[in-house]
Symmetry: C2
Subunit: 584 residues, 2 copies
């Protein structure tokens, strides 16, 4: 037996008990005649005490040679401390050591095992197994476990069945690229790793499974942007005999349960917003509604004056920054510089200060009088003391730019409080999205999403206008889940695939099994998938998902700890009937 207690549980009530502890040496203070040692394990830190008078000499000597991160086992008596440490739960006691067993030594760790470490990202990733000893990382992994367990228990109580779907499936054109897996037993053929279990969960509905979920790894071979991973985890859900309303209620219930269970936050009813309104009011289909700064469209009150920039713009749109009139000229200049960054891409920013006396002072006073500016304030909801920031240009672009500015300002103003949770359903997404490069439409959600009743005819005439039974769950400006009511008859699915540019042969080759399934009594069904990595990070009050993943990959898709991917040997390639065809 390596330990009778862990390093986080001893209290004054254990005084005079003999205990055995095991753990890592967090630090040693050697004063010669006495040695204090902090022993750490997953559960906490306990102070060990060696003292010339009561500790055998050879143990004193052994103890004095211990280095950071050595693994030791000690036996000793729990003693109440003279001077207690109120900062740690075990601070009332220490253990007077009578036996010491060095289980393993340690090289000097490449960074300090403290809440604030001196290690940079790269070295921490290479030595991830050491980084995990640090509370911030360890606690995030434990937090993730708790969220996953809460999800599973809640959904199980709601009669959902977790069904494992296969990982070795078939390559499908679902937007991103598939990772493929060559088959040795089926020469020249490949499996693909799932981008999601989409078709399988629909087949489970055809199979009568009715309420399905799965916490499951998914894979996308995308060029990685920051904070994306080639493998990620979904809470994948599907229900049969449901309408959109049933789905929203069910997963609002799940999310409410998590907020309550994990964060202790009660949220009564989640607001809902039409996609079109989200774009109009926030320039974004995942608005952060922890704060206001809704967009005010100013075309009617700002165009047809002599200011050509506005007159030539498709959209003139502004936000009122609360208290923004306090910004110095330099701060405003910085904002203007900020919106011109290539990542944002605005050509410029017009502003109007709302003075305390009710007057306005704008950057375009040459073209607009006080009455005009008062209208701007009215439309954007600006009050005395605010700053109105205005961008103009092509509608889609300028919305995205002002949305970025809104988020940046909220960040600077401290309005994005990670302890505040503002969930939001965004509903009635468009069915199709225009690819501006190719001029083709593709599915905004995926090819299995059903159009709103009665709108399928619009596909031929106004494809961009067709709305879908599709919805996203947004939390604090992040899409944490999304889904749709699915097509469940072969004919509609065929029409949809045709409009997405599939020939009949392609549709049959890719989705024949699903369309066949629709002919054998497919029930109406729909579902939703949460991104677990993101969900956990937001519930944990963080923006970055990386530390909620035990062994993440870097932005080139590499695991720098194990050094993967890596070349394989010629025999393996030969067995797989493959040859390298290197470009470089």
């Amino acid at each position: 037996m390596y330990r009778s207690h862990n390093c986080g549980e001893l209290r004054a009530s254990h005084s005079n008990t003999e205990v055995t502890l095991s753990g890592w040496v967090q630090g040693v203070r050697d004063k010669g005649f006495m040695i204090y040692l902090d022993l750490r394990d997953r559960y906490g830190i306990t102070q060990l005490y060696f003292d010339e008078e009561s500790t055998p000499k050879e143990i004193m000597e052994k103890a004095s040679k211990l280095g950071r991160e050595f693994v030791i086992q000690v036996t000793g008596k729990v003693v109440e401390r003279a001077s207690k440490n109120p900062n740690i739960p075990t601070g009332d006691i220490e253990v007077l050591v009578s036996e010491l067993n060095v289980l393993n030594s340690s090289l000097v760790p490449p960074f300090t095992i403290e809440d604030k470490t001196d290690g940079g990202d790269d070295v921490r990733m290479k030595y991830r197994y050491i980084d995990i000893r640090r509370n911030p990382v360890k606690n995030k992994l434990i937090f993730r476990h708790k969220v996953s367990q809460a999800v599973r228990n809640y959904l199980s109580q709601q009669d959902f069945i977790e069904v494992e779907t296969p990982y070795l499936i078939k390559s499908t054109p679902e937007g991103a690229r598939d990772f493929v897996v060559p088959s040795r037993m089926n020469e020249g053929q490949f499996y693909a790793l799932p981008q999601s279990p989409q078709t399988f969960k629909q087949l489970l509905m055809v199979g009568g499974m009715d309420k399905y979920f799965q916490i499951v790894k998914c894979f996308r071979d995308e060029d990685l942007r920051a904070d994306r991973q080639p493998e990620f985890t979904q809470i994948d859900c599907e229900m049969a005999f449901v309408e959109q309303e049933d789905i929203l209620n069910m997963f609002e219930g799940l999310t409410r349960h998590l907020l309550k269970e994990v964060n202790g936050v009660d949220i009564e009813k989640f607001p809902r917003m039409l996609y079109d309104d989200a774009m109009r009011l926030y320039g974004n289909d995942k608005p952060d509604i922890r704060f206001g700064m809704e967009f005010g469209e100013l075309n009617a009150v700002a165009q047809h004056k002599d200011f050509g920039v506005f007159n030539n713009a498709e959209l003139v749109v502004g936000i009122a920054v609360p208290g923004g009139n306090a910004f110095t000229r330099k701060e405003i200049d910085n904002l203007i510089k900020w919106v011109k960054r290539p990542q944002v891409g605005a050509l410029g920013m017009v502003y109007s200060r709302c003075n305390d006396d009710g007057s306005f002072k704008s950057s375009v006073d040459k073209f607009y009088d006080q009455e005009d500016l008062a209208k701007w304030a009215e439309v954007t909801g600006a009050k005395a003391g605010d700053l109105i920031c205005i961008l103009s240009g092509d509608k889609n672009k300028v919305r995205a730019q002002l949305s970025a500015l809104r988020m940046e300002l909220a960040e600077r103003l401290g309005l994005r409080d990670p302890k505040v949770f503002a969930p939001l359903w965004v509903i009635d997404f468009p069915l199709l999205e225009l690819d501006e490069e190719t001029g083709n439409y593709h599915a905004m959600h995926h090819p299995f999403t059903s159009p709103k009743p009665g709108q399928i005819e619009l596909l031929d005439t106004n494809p961009g206008e067709v709305k879908a039974n599709a919805y996203d769950l947004v939390l604090n400006g992040n899409e944490i889940g999304g889904g749709s009511i699915r097509i469940y008859d072969k004919k509609t699915q065929a029409i949809m695939l045709k409009h997405l540019g599939f020939t009949e042969e392609e549709a049959k080759a890719q989705f024949g099994f699903l369309m066949d399934a629709f002919e054998y009594g497919a029930p109406p069904h729909g579902g939703l998938a949460f991104g677990l990595d993101r969900l956990v990070a937001i519930l944990g009050g963080q923006e970055s998902i990386r530390d909620f993943i035990a062994f993440p990959k870097n932005n080139s898709g590499r695991d720098v700890m194990i050094d993967a991917p890596a070349p394989i040997d010629d025999q393996q390639l030969e067995e797989l009937s493959l040859k390298l065809n290197l470009k470089s």
Copy 2:
């Protein structure tokens, strides 16, 4: 809203309630003036009733056109039945339908949706989504969910943390072949899919995570034997600061909990058996101890007579078949034929009948007298009425053959009762196993398993004699879990890899990260992994795992439903810097 109730919940107490149900048409009995329809969903079957007098004519007509597996929605009144059906939970009521909505039609299904179907394996696999509607398949998937949930909740309560380890890792020589995944972003390099998260769980222990588990998919590109799958699920577990005893106790606790929770069976303490004893007494490292028929080694009492077959054999070994003297001559001849099948491979079988009067009648009476045969009975524990079956030959081969015969006889005698659960720990496995073809030793468990204390020196002199801190959990003759206490210092790991034939460079390339990790304070640790597919099947009283997997692959590793694997297009290959190199 598609339904107010499901098809399994209405009772007499619901009489006169108006309800809405949705589901599949299980069957229709159309008597012209009245129609009975069985409506089925996941939860059960409810009888619907249409009647000329009270049902509108157009609904009667619609109902008369419904076919099997049509999906419908009905509204109607719950009525207590005149003649109740005690065989189904809803048998006290029927629903008198007032509204009927056909949600989807169905082609005639390729097989009947009944507990006993007329569909063969192949057609059921192709239309798996229909097969899942059948109770035997559906219930197995639900059962699997319950077992998984019970595992997760139990281990969570024991402070285990479920940590997701990566699926895109590095190819390692762990016995079976890896599936590999070409990386587009890292030209000419490959990820591998994990055969198990072995190294990652060990790194989590180095990371202080202390108690880890994960229900996780694993992958092996093996030539598939019956009832093996290229992807399978493990309950993967690891603990730090533990000895073998701690691990056995913990997972005996888990298994006991499952038997109690899932099967309602109380089992106090699991017996333990040395590997050497299991081989000696059952010829097998996973003995089924639901029944006796232990081996009796007969060399001392059967050799050195004139029977050359026995004299020349390394081992003469027999079992007493309870009541086997009742076998006819033909039945015994059949047994002799059975052991000669190529799958068993024995050259012949000697037997001795134990007559009720205490006399014996053997197939080798020419060589052995009654006194000799009495000794055989004594050694094998045969009683009057039994049959002693004896095989002889090379020790390892004959043990395997007699083990096969023992299982076959138990099957024929009905001793393998799936409702009886006999768990068993087999401990003290050999560290290494001789590959008789190559003459090399390889790790019996895996290269990370630690030898028994003090035995590492034997590696140089008697490698086959070294015992490991390795154990298997056996249930009803199936290995349901196995694990070991791991090596946790770099030096021992290096010695072990050297003995397994790795050069220093190979060891570094493959396992460098793990051996590095051992230098930064690795704690003593060990673990175990359960095969979930097998565990669930056995708890469910079945031998085959296939129906406990929602979408299994066939023996060529193909998913015949979605037709995977499949060729990929040239552009995909090009992007992956690969060319096909077909042999055929």
